[in-house]
């Protein structure tokens, strides 16, 4: 089974995806990550206004087995969080690029996006793991 890696998104080596809309980035974890984690039972999201820092922990996703850090693939202020995940964390398993979105961040350093991988490079990266 191969992981889904949609075009048009940027990816981090820590398996987060980023979708940008103007100056606001939506982030989540990739299909590869959700599958590796297994059934997600709990998500810890940052408070609104939190300053996210590039590749620093910004939340936690917890599966039946264990908890894992979510590393923010962008720097900036948290302007929205997906509160539906409190009730249905499994949305991350079933629709990680859609309903499973986690945090929206107002970019403070958009140039950092160049440090991320595009779909093709991320797919190649997955092949090396």
């Amino acid at each position: 089974m191969s992981a889904k890696v949609p075009d048009g998104l940027k990816y981090s080596k820590e398996h987060e995806w980023v979708k940008t809309d103007g100056n606001v980035a939506t982030i989540g974890i990739t299909d590869h990550a959700q599958h590796a984690l297994g059934d997600i039972v709990f998500v810890e999201l940052p408070k609104l206004g939190t300053e996210a820092k590039f590749m620093k922990p910004v939340g936690v996703v917890e599966s039946v087995k264990a908890a894992s850090d979510i590393f923010s693939p962008v720097s900036g202020k948290v302007v929205a969080i997906n509160t539906d995940l409190a009730k249905t964390p499994e949305a991350i398993n079933t629709d990680c690029y859609g309903a499973g979105w986690m945090v929206k961040i107002e970019l403070s350093a958009p140039d950092e996006l160049n440090k991320l991988l595009d779909a093709k490079s991320y797919t190649e990266f997955l092949g090396t793991l």
Partner: protein, 351 residues
């Protein structure tokens, strides 16, 4: 595996070629239909000789007298201080042969310890030539009937018998680690492992059986409050503290008995309690447990319990600090989350 407050970095994982199947699916399959577990890593040891019973009586905590051929009993292998080397099931095959099932990681030490406690008896490690598979869940016997002519459904709990499963000579015991009353452990020649596995997969699939991994094994056993060696039982936790006093015969003389009798007399200092959380956020082994402002102990095992739809945990706390009905908190990554101390087990399988 779940290691308390430790948080695992995605990038640092070793990804298997095959993606793992999901724990929740496997868990529910076992509770509703059947689950097939490869437990070949566990140990099988045979004690033989005229001195087998007497030696084992001095070696393990439980009274093994009066068992029928084929009958087994759960027991602890203790150290001199009453701490635990391992939990075992000892089956009597006949008056001079006892078949012991051990945990995987502790097997070699168990062998050393048991060996040192034998007189007029020998120990043979059957593990290298033996494979074990666990088939657990309500449809166990329906599935086995396709592969075995013997009336296995008549086998009583904690009894073993010999039978041909998928044409392979096997020992079948009605036992397991899921809390399901219908379930067996199958022991057979390692060379036949693939054959028996495949036969069970073919026979079980139409019945809704799934192959299950260690993740589901943990959620299943924790829901039923079955102890896991290394968590609820260790060399510094006694069976009395871990709530398995029923597997200890204090009137008998065995290694550790004196220490346990003293502990019983002076008051068992710690108690294993069951915690049910309001939400789904799990606490993990090592997380501290608070009653009010005071830390009273720590979590020994914790996970999400699918059949009870909430996070659950076992915790070892100062005796009396958190009775059933009390509210406590587990500290998870700096935040305290509420839990109720409840009666064990969290889940009781239908008979």
């Amino acid at each position: 595996m779940a290691l308390g407050a430790k948080v695992i970095d995605f990038g640092g994982w070793d990804m298997p070629v095959d993606y793992p199947t999901h724990i929740l699916q496997e868990h529910f399959a076992t509770r509703q239909n059947a689950g097939l577990f490869d437990t070949g890593h566990m140990g099988e040891v045979l004690i033989e000789g005229a001195g087998a019973l007497e030696s084992l009586q001095g070696a393990v905590s439980r009274d093994l007298a009066g068992m029928e051929n084929g009958q087994g009993r759960y027991t602890l292998l203790c150290n001199e201080s009453g701490g635990v080397f391992d939990d075992l099931i000892v089956f009597k095959q006949n008056d001079t042969q006892y078949y012991i099932v051990t945990n995987a990681g502790t097997r070699l030490r168990d062998i050393e310890v048991i060996q040192s406690r034998l007189t007029n008896a020998t120990l043979r490690d059957l593990t290298p030539e033996t494979h074990k598979l666990d088939l657990q869940g309500p449809k166990t016997f329906e599935i086995l009937a396709k592969l075995c002519d013997a009336p296995l459904s008549k086998l009583k709990r904690f009894r073993m018998t010999r039978a041909k499963v998928a044409g392979v000579e096997s020992i079948v015991s009605r036992s397991g680690y899921t809390g399901e009353s219908n379930g067996v452990e199958l022991f057979f020649a390692k060379s036949e492992a693939c054959k028996v596995w495949s036969a069970l997969m073919d026979a079980g699939k139409p019945a809704g059986m799934l192959p299950c991994g260690l993740g589901a094994r943990d959620t299943l056993r924790l829901e039923c409050c079955l102890p896991l060696y290394g968590h609820e039982l260790t060399e510094t936790i006694t069976p009395l503290e871990a709530g398995v006093k029923w597997a200890v015969s204090l009137e008998k003389n065995f290694v550790g008995a004196d220490a346990l009798r003293a502990q019983e007399k002076n008051g068992v200092p710690r108690t294993l309690i069951a915690l049910k959380f309001a939400g789904r956020q799990p606490a993990r082994a090592g997380h501290p447990v608070f009653a009010g402002h005071t830390q009273v102990g720590e979590v020994t095992s914790g996970t999400f319990g699918p059949s009870v739809n909430s996070a659950i945990a076992l915790a070892l706390v100062k005796t009396g600090s958190a009775p059933v009905g009390a509210s406590v908190q587990a500290e998870v990554r700096g935040t305290r989350i509420d839990a109720a101390v409840v009666e064990k087990p969290f889940y009781k399988a239908a008979k």
